[in-house]
């Protein structure tokens, strides 16, 4: 069951999820207030382009946060390349260059797990298409802390490994297509 008091939407996916995320952001209501935190696997050498690409279609502003930046409403935040992204109890981000996890930096598990611990039942976790299992444990942590969880329907994924890894761990609240995810977010 959803509640209408969510403090963050946290979305994980691998590099191939860019088009799905772009589609979701393009269909948001422009006054969508809940902060959206995106952790997508990305090439570490490519620092620019991704935010700009998402902003082309997004209905809300997309930025890469600096370390210790406050989380604000009506904004989407993208984890910077080659940094882990954590969410702190004082509603700020913290970045880290600690070692890669699941061969990934940023690690989706790290971002989702820290969101689970910070926001608990006031968190929506969404796991999209992806090529490895990073993110599966993180979204389960959100589920375990009573947050609301959505896994992209593997049948709509380019690569099913990530959602399937999550579905092997637990039964999320919803399995949805990208269009259904957009509609769900706008209903919050």
């Amino acid at each position: 069951m959803t509640n209408n008091n969510y403090k963050a939407i946290v979305i994980g996916g691998s590099a191939g999820s860019f088009s799905v995320v772009s589609k979701i952001l393009s269909k948001l209501n422009p006054d969508f207030q809940i902060p959206i935190i995106l952790c997508l696997h990305r090439l570490k050498y490519i620092r620019s382009g991704l935010v700009e690409g998402l902003n082309l279609k997004s209905k809300i502003n997309v930025i890469e946060p600096l370390d210790k930046e406050k989380i604000k409403s009506n904004t989407a935040y993208l984890a910077p390349s080659n940094y882990h992204l954590f969410i702190e109890f004082d509603n700020t981000f913290s970045l880290s260059t600690e070692e890669s996890y699941n061969h990934s930096r940023p690690s989706i598990d790290y971002t989702l797990s820290s969101a689970a611990h910070t926001f608990r039942e006031k968190c929506v976790g969404i796991l999209l298409t992806g090529a490895n299992k990073d993110g599966a444990k993180g979204i389960k942590d959100i589920f375990d802390k009573k947050g609301y969880t959505i896994v992209q329907d593997p049948e709509t994924c380019d690569i099913k490994t990530m959602p399937q890894a999550a579905l092997r761990l637990f039964q999320p609240h919803k399995i949805m297509s990208p269009d259904e995810i957009s509609a769900f977010l706008n209903s919050l």
């Binding site: 620092r47 370390d67 930046e69 940094y83 702190e88 880290s96 070692e99 820290s114």
Partner: protein
């Protein structure tokens, strides 16, 4: 099963570590210390907080803590865009020929080696004294040997290629007994400084490279170290921080922005 440390546990342990070792562990970011301590617990098979506290009387254990607490950089030329700008805009254009550079947290040495490779490109190594800090004496000694992690050679090489220089990464290192070592000429004029980032060199410096360590400091400690760095920089000196780190508020108005994207700042004045 992993030990779960609460905020009060972290406060207690970091305060004890501070008392024992003198470094401001209690002023590092709590979430960072939670991850770091969990790592120690796992690596050293420590099952309880009490056992960790007992170990604080063990000299070898303390040495291991000091060796492992800074986050390893692991890559030479991490953020190639930063190094490219530093090289093209400053070093090779003769805008900056530093006589002294300070690395307040040298971690695993890659930033120091990266700088020395670029400094060699302008044949300035003999003119530059490099000061570097690490809380572990063993690590300070290790860095002077120039050993780099073999498993990341491909990453170092790829980063180097992105600098778009005429030389090859392999021009600056060699293999010895199966290890990859930075060439000796790049390891001259290195002056290890005991202590961590608050322990300054004995003289003002013309450049400070302190990238991605402030991520792990609380805001008050960030401001403390920022003030120390500001006072240690010569007028006209350059400060570089990580590309995702904001400059602490207490020195924002005292520094000039040289390159905002690459986080390069200058202390007002002239080096000459």
């Amino acid at each position: 099963m992993a030990v779960s440390l609460g905020i009060n546990d972290i406060k207690e342990l970091t305060s004890l570590m501070h008392d024992k070792l003198g470094y401001p562990f209690h002023e590092l970011s709590t979430s960072f210390m939670k991850r770091r301590l969990s790592l120690f617990f796992d690596k050293l098979f420590i099952k309880t907080k009490e056992r960790f506290i007992e170990q604080l009387d063990n000299e070898l254990f303390l040495k291991s803590v000091l060796y492992n607490i800074p986050v390893e950089t692991t890559e030479l030329f991490r953020d190639p865009g930063f190094w490219r700008v530093l090289n093209n805009k400053f070093l090779s254009s003769n805008l900056l020929a530093p006589d002294s550079v300070w690395f307040p947290d040298v971690s695993s040495g890659e930033e120091l080696y990266s700088f020395q490779i670029l400094n060699k490109g302008i044949n300035h190594n003999n003119e530059t004294t490099i000061y570097y800090n690490h809380p572990s004496n063993a690590r300070l000694d290790e860095i002077k040997t120039g050993i780099i992690n073999n498993k990341n050679i491909e990453t170092h090489d790829n980063n180097f290629k992105r600098l778009e220089l005429e030389s090859e990464f392999s021009d600056f290192c060699h293999i010895h007994n199966g290890s990859t070592l930075i060439n000796e000429i790049l390891l001259e004029h290195l002056v290890p400084c005991k202590g961590w980032f608050l322990n300054t060199p004995n003289e003002p410096v013309s450049m400070i490279i302190f990238r991605n360590t402030m991520l792990y400091l609380s805001k008050p400690l960030q401001e403390k170290v920022a003030q120390v760095m500001y006072e240690t920089l010569k007028p006209g000196g350059i400060l570089t921080i990580g590309i995702k780190e904001p400059l602490p508020e207490n020195i924002i108005d005292k520094m000039e922005i040289v390159d905002e994207q690459e986080r390069i700042f200058k202390k007002p004045g002239s080096l000459v």
